[in-house]
Symmetry: D3
Subunit: 317 residues, 6 copies
Amino acid sequence: MKRLFVKDLTRDAEVNDYFIVVRKGTYLSKNNTKYMTLLLKDRTGSVEARVWEKADELGALFDRNDLVYVESKARMYQETLQLNVTSIRKVDQELAPDELKEFYPESSAASGELQKSFYDLVSGMKNPHLRALFDQLGKRKDLLEKFFYFPASVGIHHAYLRGLLEHSVNLAVMAKGIAPLTGTDEDLLVTGSLVHDIGKVEELKVKGGFGYSDKGRLLGHITIGIMMCDGLIAAIDDFPVYLGDVIKHIILSHHGEAEWGSPKKPMCLEALVIHYLDNLDAKVVGVREHMQENMDDETWTQYHKLFESRYYKIPER
Amino acid sequence: MKRLFVKDLTRDAEVNDYFIVVRKGTYLSKNNTKYMTLLLKDRTGSVEARVWEKADELGALFDRNDLVYVESKARMYQETLQLNVTSIRKVDQELAPDELKEFYPESSAASGELQKSFYDLVSGMKNPHLRALFDQLGKRKDLLEKFFYFPASVGIHHAYLRGLLEHSVNLAVMAKGIAPLTGTDEDLLVTGSLVHDIGKVEELKVKGGFGYSDKGRLLGHITIGIMMCDGLIAAIDDFPVYLGDVIKHIILSHHGEAEWGSPKKPMCLEALVIHYLDNLDAKVVGVREHMQENMDDETWTQYHKLFESRYYKIPER
Amino acid sequence: MKRLFVKDLTRDAEVNDYFIVVRKGTYLSKNNTKYMTLLLKDRTGSVEARVWEKADELGALFDRNDLVYVESKARMYQETLQLNVTSIRKVDQELAPDELKEFYPESSAASGELQKSFYDLVSGMKNPHLRALFDQLGKRKDLLEKFFYFPASVGIHHAYLRGLLEHSVNLAVMAKGIAPLTGTDEDLLVTGSLVHDIGKVEELKVKGGFGYSDKGRLLGHITIGIMMCDGLIAAIDDFPVYLGDVIKHIILSHHGEAEWGSPKKPMCLEALVIHYLDNLDAKVVGVREHMQENMDDETWTQYHKLFESRYYKIPER
Amino acid sequence: MKRLFVKDLTRDAEVNDYFIVVRKGTYLSKNNTKYMTLLLKDRTGSVEARVWEKADELGALFDRNDLVYVESKARMYQETLQLNVTSIRKVDQELAPDELKEFYPESSAASGELQKSFYDLVSGMKNPHLRALFDQLGKRKDLLEKFFYFPASVGIHHAYLRGLLEHSVNLAVMAKGIAPLTGTDEDLLVTGSLVHDIGKVEELKVKGGFGYSDKGRLLGHITIGIMMCDGLIAAIDDFPVYLGDVIKHIILSHHGEAEWGSPKKPMCLEALVIHYLDNLDAKVVGVREHMQENMDDETWTQYHKLFESRYYKIPER
Amino acid sequence: MKRLFVKDLTRDAEVNDYFIVVRKGTYLSKNNTKYMTLLLKDRTGSVEARVWEKADELGALFDRNDLVYVESKARMYQETLQLNVTSIRKVDQELAPDELKEFYPESSAASGELQKSFYDLVSGMKNPHLRALFDQLGKRKDLLEKFFYFPASVGIHHAYLRGLLEHSVNLAVMAKGIAPLTGTDEDLLVTGSLVHDIGKVEELKVKGGFGYSDKGRLLGHITIGIMMCDGLIAAIDDFPVYLGDVIKHIILSHHGEAEWGSPKKPMCLEALVIHYLDNLDAKVVGVREHMQENMDDETWTQYHKLFESRYYKIPER
Amino acid sequence: MKRLFVKDLTRDAEVNDYFIVVRKGTYLSKNNTKYMTLLLKDRTGSVEARVWEKADELGALFDRNDLVYVESKARMYQETLQLNVTSIRKVDQELAPDELKEFYPESSAASGELQKSFYDLVSGMKNPHLRALFDQLGKRKDLLEKFFYFPASVGIHHAYLRGLLEHSVNLAVMAKGIAPLTGTDEDLLVTGSLVHDIGKVEELKVKGGFGYSDKGRLLGHITIGIMMCDGLIAAIDDFPVYLGDVIKHIILSHHGEAEWGSPKKPMCLEALVIHYLDNLDAKVVGVREHMQENMDDETWTQYHKLFESRYYKIPER
């Protein structure tokens, strides 16, 4: 779909290609004519753009967060590249997962590999009720497809395509290894790991930059995930009541404390294990992403506002 | 069903009647024989009981929290009444709401009156979707019946039969009055008031003293109530998505802050109004119940552990 | 007094009118001459201004927060209007409440209407002591006049002329409606509502933008309000001691918690009701003002720093 | 007044003397007659007492917290002394400060010595306004007398007669010494030290054990102290407004943080000094009192619930 | 050493054996003679004891927390066994680790097995500096021996002999497994796991019940552990400075947050992993120990005061 | 070393002098050539600088935080002075304490005077062990020299050369005066005052602006200071164990609460005194420094982010 990526733009290039509109504003110039300023992005970065002619007319054709097709020319302005746009229109097609990756960063783990790990984990479980839960999920193609390509967060950790699957699978593998060392139920750990964040497929939206849906802001992924599991379980015959409650409890409590979004603390051993490992994986990967982007010097990152700390990159020996 | 209540017990009375078992323990007496100590209750209070003969045999016939039929005689021991039990057996029938009130305190508002207020509030709404939600609830006789006789809490506020309905209706009436003064949607306020605590019908259980169910401890009434509404709404044609999300958000946020059990703060005006009025009604009624039972002297209550304060009863003028 | 308002300024207009000085700075231009930059405001908005000539001389004639009379001409600079000032001088008269409204936004409720509601509430009380308190307040014309035109806060809620009166009266009306539903003393609720924020008439100052007085920053409106009531009550014969303490307690505790500025929690039922309704009214109106000024898109406001949340405007049906 | 103190009671002694009633209860004995159990105290300790005869009649003659005259005989019961009371009646006289010390512990510093220190501190001030404040206080004999014999707290620190004066004077002496090292105003520090806790003379009451008055519970000593100073200052000609505000601010902020009862933090240097030194003196003396009464072994105290720590008594070398 | 354990005591048995003195008190009997009450324990439980004769004389021969040799006879008193002691004396020998286990519970993992795991983990490291650290520790026989038999806490988790080693080794094994999944340094994780709690060998003391040393209460195991490592590292040639700092940082930060005792948060990836896994292991084992001792019914434990929750034992399928 | 200070720079001056590099960046100009922007400082302030020629070549010769020798000419740009740099190179010498003061602000107390106070305090102690501790410190010339010229913090309080010594000595003098008023051990207070912040000589670094060392960020001055004292004490014969623990405890607890960095609260009287006085001195001096630099108008400072308050400068009378 895309041919020319932001990172490859050069001065004076003709740029006729697809982008996502991150920002859109209309202003009055000194000689009283309207112009538009835009920020356009693909998976390799973002670029400023200006529409100097027919700003009114063109502006009516698209909106912030839309996928657009742009005809333009690159020029230098105050030492940075800028696109001088002559034509722009909304592209009304839904992007297939394959196309999304032209506009967003993606996990370094291959899609097929992660899905294989997911299916291996599921088929490795002995508990027939828990396997039935994933059979049921398999019937919800809409959910599963999103689960397979969504990021795990907007910007804290695993903030790239397939990040949600990567995080869920990694957590399940860790949990499986730790089950015998803690005397906990392996199948419950695997199930809890794979569904704990499933509500994110409706909490987040992937359109013009990772963001939150209305439902996501009003209810959050924990509540949404519990409603999803409630629906899936209701469709399974003879699913043990206590088991359904435990799975929902694992989702509900995986943030560990009320102040972090879990109105119930983990109250069974498996919920405790999921909580600590989820925290571990999210924090370690989040810090690593922070280290890749926000170093202050060779050893120290900048202050991480959410985690409330700087981080130290141990020098290579 | 009951004939003789705890508050009417007198020395040497024959007491052959129904009670709920609050506590049950078996001990070895000095001459090496087993005896049982029990605490038995009905709506008027509780009384100690002893089984001196055949403790093993009788003890196998019932458990803590059971409704039992007891044959006994009242005697004085260390200045308090005690039942000397000769026969005791579990009564295996489910108590009808009418019978429950022989064992539990109940709201001072009549049942019919409260239900009438409830139906008046519902039929007074203009929004057809919201009325449809209550039509749907009307089909769930199991839920509705419990909603009509459950307490609103185990011991903090409205801790008596029909307390849940009384609290919900009172909240709705307050909210309705305040709607024009705050420019908020009256129908949403009424709906939110009536369903905000509906999850309590599965969080609590009414058996041998108000208590928590397993599901209640693992998930809490907020999460349970949202799942209930999710199920009810799914069965209604063309229920607006945003409206369903707002109702669930009102339930989710009605405790106001994460540390008080709401992972999302109230984010729309109606959710704010419900939150503050719910707090007001629960706190005022909770303090009033505390004033009825736990005064330190004429003007001051004892310290209320949960509310972290003493309270002052303004002297009558 | 004013003829031309900020919102009506047009390019090249002669602007000879009154403004309040919000910001004042003196700089050195490239050719080593001094110039002044000013920000001037009236109730409709604010406008940048420059004094290019005689900056030293004119600058000595007024200060920040002063009311000034300006002679100037409007011109465009970098796409915004700017006043080119040739003459400016301080206007040393105290502004009458009627004149203030030319410089500040005001409540949408008419002044006479709000005052009528206030007097109706007072005369509707049965408790002679409480009516006496307001008689006493009526003798303090200085206080009462400010109480009638002050804002309720610098920027959080009811941040406009008469906001304090509007908030107090609205709270009293709500409280009156709720009194029978909570079994609380109506007269105490009305009194508490009307005096709970009275200390704001000395905590705040209305001059060149709503701000804080020295006394206000050092003591806060709660402490100031209590001292005011202490003084008023001392002048009334036979005012019951307990009643004075309760009124001061309602003022002291109306923020509800120590961390929100109330060193004592509400300890009587009436103090609880005032606390929750005050919170409700302040929050709902504060969110509504935020919705009017700071929407991020059609449905969501920007993040509100003090309230620590975004807010959702329910779509019109 | 008293002749025989609790610590000197011996078996079989005739005890006809004055005590304060700390606890009072009426019970039914096994043979259906009423008896009273009492706890009686003087400054040296407390003793259990029983009224076996005419419990109804005698019980009507006095109440908890009363000073009573008792006729009784000491006997042993379960290895502790108990008074067998035959006559008891309320003593309706107000106790003079001199008599109070027979019932309460008192400061080790002599009364005259502490008062001399107080007057020396006051007369040593150079600021005429601040001296005038204490002249005014001198006219309020009722306040000053209480200020001279009240404890500084019910049980946390300086919980003995004259503790309030001892604490205030000690704080002033410390502050005076520290003034030159911090470049702060010595007279303000002395004044702030002497009045910071003055509201305690109305917050506390000394009757049958140190306790809280209604006003004290509803308003607290900080608010009460500010109203007192407000009244005193109002009676002084030309007292500078800013100075009155600063003194009230020192009282208001001396607990340092909202969560410890100060709605405003210390905002001037003198308020900071008073806050830290007050904390230091209260904590050190409070820990020392805890060390005198609650050691777990030779080196460690028991856990102090309010201070949330154990304390270590450094071994003597 | 021991022959008869508390759990095997029977009525009328002659009990001449070793115990630890948990509690010791002297009282006056009704006939004015002194007697002593003791609580004696071994690893299987504790038993009340009384010394009726020569209480003064025998009481001088031992103290609380001492190991004593007792001659006594078991009798029933109020339905529980009690030892009637005729002779008691302090045993002044230091208990060898082998003997300790007669008085304390111990890990279910065999001592040899745990030590072998420890040495395997150490010898499996590739980093020569880190191996040198453990060589150095090997020279401190006093430390190492205690490290091999101490409990991991007084009562929260792993509160039995060898609990410290079991917890440290388990943590290291978990961390080793997780290293490749998080891209962290395996040797640092193993080292951090094995030394993170090493300060406990001086914070705790094992004498008459697990308790705290003076040093432990004043400094805590984190600070003590850092000083130990500082001493060990100082004795190693060319130990990289940054590596020493990182190891001490891992110890310092392993509680994760200031409020939990770590003045620095984990700032490198390895410190994060140790923190979360330590939490996981301590919490899971702590909850499991709570489940073994404090169930409320078959599914729910009692409320755990430190962890602030009840726990749910998933029903066996 | 320096001849021309930032505060004395004038337009068109030749500036060939020493500075510290605070900021360093390289950019591309419109005509595609590289240039560098620098911020250079000495003790009197900082100045912008530009390298227009040979930016690559010169940029390789130094780094941020380096001391450099610059050849340049001052010019005006947008109304501020800017250095036009033609030559710049790193100066590789370690700065002697005497030279440091050309680049940093310093205490107003003379160096000799502060050191004399320090030695007087030490020699005034009666406890031989504590004097021995300072003898030992005297042998660590490296530590002592830094202790004599380091700031007490990067920017909160005493943020100037010799600030650490000034703060420590001032604290000791205050503590000595307060010892008799609190009945605490004077020598322990003096010792605790002088060593409580000694870890700052390794936590901080003085190079191109006060900053933190790696060790400082990972461990903090409390932990570092304890390790230092541990080392010093280990070298003293017969230093009492309890005394060493108490000194380390005073260091450990001097921030008072876990959330402020002290994992143990002050547990002995001397630790309490040090904690409160340290807080007092740090806060008073910190506020005074804030008052010198950040006034909003004549009476109020700007908001202090760390202290979370504005401050009020009492008007001169």
